[in-house]
């Protein structure tokens, strides 16, 4: 069924399809059609049809991060997963949920909260961001320090390969080592290996109490305070810092969850100095600032001081976790392409000297080295080659032009 024009009629059989408009462009590349599959089988049907006609496909969820990564080399079909929006199974007694890829994180959270459970990921843009997008383009949130990232909480996945093959790995039990873990491979693959259709996650009970310990801190004290918090037996779930003005003050916030949160929060306060213990997070907690340009830095804890200095030296706002070794940086003002490229390369030099890595998650231009050196790149190319020999899945959107 095709609405809004007949050019694509029949191409995708019974799958709802419409002509693409300017609003559907992916980084300026306008697809010809938008396909709206409602089932795994319909995704497979669309991908089979695309394979027969050599059409390039970009999968999309809520579109919140679709402008991240470079533009696709080509894009004929935008595969919009918004109709795959069912929570398929919430086995509360097993602390497991299975959901279709298009379910928004907000809808999923609401369903889980009914049973006093949660998916312990702090997903930005959660009102619109979907399960599939959260896996394909994951962004570790504050509590990754305690619970790990999306790949650590994913226990099963259903994917559709570029040729329409439907494949599952993992399952709905947390403990499972049967076969290769395709979930790991597809998490963070930016739509370049196939389409994530369904996912199963392990859940956690919603903590009965939460307290944030919030303090203004001199940047120079951050490494020592962060180390003390990370080693504290009061067990913070997250420690985040926020420095919107590279030359301005820095706020540190630590989260404790579970029982006896107030007492434990007070224990953490002793490690920080003057601080407020609050039942509410600071306004910036878990939020991404503007993401026209967004740079992610990952680093070992011992590199914290160097990363803070490098960010300030390059004039970048900073937010993220000194204990998990991950911060997001953003330029406070608009940079032209040359300025951005120079900023990134200067930053990368300093960060890599401290044992860290710089990735440009979002940038509106081409002339920036987004990933730097990637040690496993030859193997990654071989994986891409096997999964997508025709280079039709989000071509050119990932490391090394994969």
């Amino acid at each position: 069924m095709v609405t809004g024009g007949l050019e694509g009629a029949g191409v995708f059989g019974e799958v709802t399809t419409r002509q693409a408009g300017d609003d559907d462009a992916v980084c300026g590349v306008r697809p010809r059609w938008v396909a709206l599959p409602e089932t795994v089988e319909e995704i497979a049907a669309v991908l089979r049809a695309c394979a027969e006609r050599d059409l390039a496909v970009v999968p999309a969820g809520g579109g919140t991060k679709l402008h991240w990564a470079p533009p696709p080399e080509r894009c004929d079909v935008l595969l919009d997963l918004c109709c795959m929006n069912e929570v398929l199974e919430h086995a509360a007694g097993d602390l497991v949920v299975r959901a279709q890829a298009g379910v928004t994180i907000a809808a999923l959270s609401a369903a889980l909260a009914g049973e006093g459970q949660e998916l312990a990921l702090d997903v930005p843009f959660g009102e619109d961001a979907t399960v599939g997008g959260t896996l394909a383009a994951p962004l570790p949130g504050p509590r990754a320090f305690r619970y790990g990232t999306a790949r650590d909480l994913l226990i099963g996945i259903t994917v559709v390969l570029p040729d329409g093959t439907v494949a599952r790995s993992g399952g709905k039990v947390v403990k499972n080592v049967a076969g290769y873990d395709l979930g790991k491979l597809f998490t963070g693959s930016y739509g370049t290996l196939g389409v994530i259709a369904e996912a199963t996650f392990r859940l956690h009970p919603m903590p009965p109490e939460r307290r944030w310990v919030v303090a203004e801190l001199g940047g120079a004290r951050v490494p020592a305070v962060a180390a003390a918090l990370a080693a504290s037996q009061a067990e913070p779930s997250a420690v985040e810092v926020d420095r919107p003005d590279p030359a301005g003050p820095l706020t540190l916030a630590a989260l404790v969850e579970g029982t006896a949160a107030q007492t434990r929060g007070e224990t953490l306060r002793e490690l920080i100095g003057p601080a407020e213990v609050s039942g509410e997070p600071p306004s910036w907690w878990g939020q991404v600032f503007g993401d026209d340009v967004l740079v992610e830095v990952r680093f070992p804890a011992s590199g914290t001081a160097a990363v803070l200095d490098a960010a300030a030296g390059c004039g970048l706002s900073l937010r993220g976790s000194p204990v998990a070794g991950r911060v997001l940086l953003e330029p406070g003002r608009e940079l032209d392409e040359d300025e951005l490229a120079a900023t990134v390369s200067g930053l990368r030099e300093k960060v890599e000297a401290a044992g860290g890595r710089v990735s440009v998650l979002a940038a509106p231009c081409q002339g920036v080295d987004r990933w730097g050196h990637v040690s496993g790149l030859p193997l990654m190319r071989r994986v891409k080659e096997r999964f997508d020999p025709g280079r039709r899945m989000s071509p050119g959107r990932f490391v090394g032009g994969i």
């Binding site: 086995a91 007694g93 097993d94 497991v96 790990g148 650590d152 994917v159 093959t165 494949a167 599952r168 790995s169 399952g171 709905k172 039990v173 947390v174 403990k175 499972n176 080592v177 049967a178 076969g179 290769y180 873990d181 395709l182 790991k184 491979l185 998490t187 963070g188 956690h204 009965p208 080693a231 037996q233 009061a234 067990e235 579970g258 029982t259 006896a260 007492t263 434990r264 070992p300 804890a301 011992s302 070794g325 860290g356 890595r357 990735s359 990933w371 730097g372 990637v374 040690s375 496993g376 030859p378 193997l379 990654m380 071989r382 994986v383 080659e385 096997r386 990932f398 490391v399 090394g400």
Partner: protein, 478 residues
């Protein structure tokens, strides 16, 4: 093989190449002793570069290779090939770096799991995954198997605690896979691939801060049903203990005979629950736990490490202990959703009665990981076959209930024939794409994990005649 051995001798120090038939025999199996094969040759490399050279040589000769750590695996993952090279990492035993500021350690693959914890314990840290064989099993083997342990309910598996691996790819390249690096999560795909995607030669593990408080509780119930209800109630109360273990009467009897663990007499089931974390939290959870276990006829609480060890002693010795009550046994590793435990245990009971084969149940109840010990007398004709039937039927039950054929022991050579029951041909073919990307020649631990794999480059669904891997002896038709 002779030319290969000569070439190996030119690559490695003299005492690193073993060809003496008697010494080769000592490597003929891993912890799963009923699969045996004498390796063509054994090498004991001392460095990553030596591992890479051996693997490159295997490529030149088109000879398969199998990696082996301490040989404690329970699925035959390190079963050697008579026509291949067994690469043993036992000489790569250095802890290269311990960095508490970064909460990580860099170790060689032959380092034992427990050695990592022992290196940092007095400074208040530990390495979390704790398979029962942790005193001897190697970290390289843990990476290959994605090992868990009793405490993975709360803390996760090897894959959640490894930050980076230097690997030798099946082509013989040294590549570092690091969680910090952008790109595909090849580290995540590599861990748990059972030696089929290469060999880890250097591993960076995450170290955890020791918890402030640990409370270990032994609860004795009259029946396994009561124990099961307590498990559900614990999870339902929003408690995530570090471990919840259960043993049934037969398993208790065996442990008692072997190590005199003095579990409460007459128990139909015992539950071991370990709570850990901030003292205030553990205290509150313990109060909840006492209430939940009100049906228990006895509740013991360990007050110190010695008492904790006494509680764990029976559980940790359970596998070895069944030797006291049965001449032979098969241990399974299936997983079911926790809520299916009562139904599955009842079905195992029925299977046991139907085939006249005793089954002792020991399991990680918190995550539904069963370790049924299927007991039989290998002197009794037909008993082994009946035990095999029961053992297989238990795996079928796990699959029926939406679980898995293996929670932590791996597929290896033992359970590859069950893979098509758990996964479709398309699922397995897709996994094979990963294999082909890493190992196009199919030389890395062939014949493990997957039932007769498709050759890389072969089109699905058109296989005819004898499989070339079978014909060339690189795989068995299962």
């Amino acid at each position: 093989m002779d030319t290969l051995i000569a070439a190996l001798r030119s690559l490695l120090p003299h005492d690193s190449v073993i060809t003496d038939p008697v010494r080769l025999r000592t490597y003929e199996c891993d912890g799963l002793t009923y699969h045996r094969a004498t390796p063509g040759v054994v090498v004991l490399p001392g460095t990553a570069e030596q591992v890479a050279r051996v693997v490159r040589l295997c490529n030149d000769f088109g000879v398969p290779f199998v990696a082996r750590g301490s040989g404690t695996g329970l699925s035959g993952g390190a079963l050697p090939r008579e026509d291949g090279v067994l690469i043993v990492t036992s000489r790569m035993r250095a802890i290269l770096e311990v960095d508490l500021a970064d909460r990580r350690a860099v170790v060689e693959p032959g380092v034992t799991n427990l050695a990592i914890t022992e290196a940092v314990r007095d400074r208040g840290y530990y390495y979390a995954p704790d398979p029962s064989s942790q005193q001897i099993c190697s970290i390289g083997g843990n990476v290959a198997e994605n090992s868990g342990g009793a405490h993975c309910l709360k803390y996760g598996f090897t894959v959640n605690h490894v930050e980076a691996c230097e690997i030798v790819t099946p082509d013989g390249d040294l590549v570092t896979l690091d969680r910090m690096d952008p790109g595909y999560d090849l580290l995540g795909a590599f861990i748990g691939s059972e030696g089929t995607l290469g060999i880890a030669t250097k591993i960076t593990v995450r170290l955890c801060r020791a918890p402030e408080a640990v409370t270990t509780v032994l609860a004795a119930f009259e029946s396994i049903e009561q124990g099961g209800q307590a498990v559900s109630a614990i999870i339902g109360a929003g408690i995530v203990p570090a471990a919840i273990e259960m043993m049934d009467a037969l398993a208790i009897e065996a442990a008692e005979a072997a190590v005199a663990c003095s579990y409460p007499e007459g128990a139909g089931a015992v539950l071991i629950v370990e709570l850990d974390g901030p003292a205030a939290e553990v205290e509150r959870q313990f109060a909840q736990l006492e209430e939940i276990c009100s049906a228990a006829f006895e509740l013991r609480v360990a007050a110190d490490p010695a008492e904790r060890a006494a509680i764990w002693k029976g559980r940790k010795s359970a596998f070895a202990a069944v030797g006291r009550i049965s001449p032979a046994y098969i241990v399974q590793d299936g997983v079911v959703p926790r809520t299916s435990l009562p139904a599955v245990l009842a079905a195992i009971d029925r299977l046991s009665a139907e085939h006249d084969i005793k089954v002792a149940n020991v399991f990680h109840a918190g995550d539904g990981n069963l370790h049924p010990l299927v007991l039989f007398d290998d002197g009794d004709p037909g008993a082994g076959e009946r035990a095999e039937v029961v053992s297989g039927a238990i795996l079928d039950l796990c699959i029926e209930h939406g679980g898995s054929i293996t929670g932590e022991h791996g597929v290896g050579v033992d359970k590859s024939r069950y893979m098509p029951k758990m996964f479709s041909a398309d699922d397995l073919d897709t996994m094979q794409l990963v294999r082909c990307a890493f190992d196009p020649q199919g030389l890395a631990n062939p014949g493990k994990v997957f039932p007769t794999p498709r050759l890389c480059g072969e089109v699905p669904g058109v296989r005819k005649g004898v499989h070339p891997l079978v014909e060339s002896g690189k795989a068995d038709q299962l």
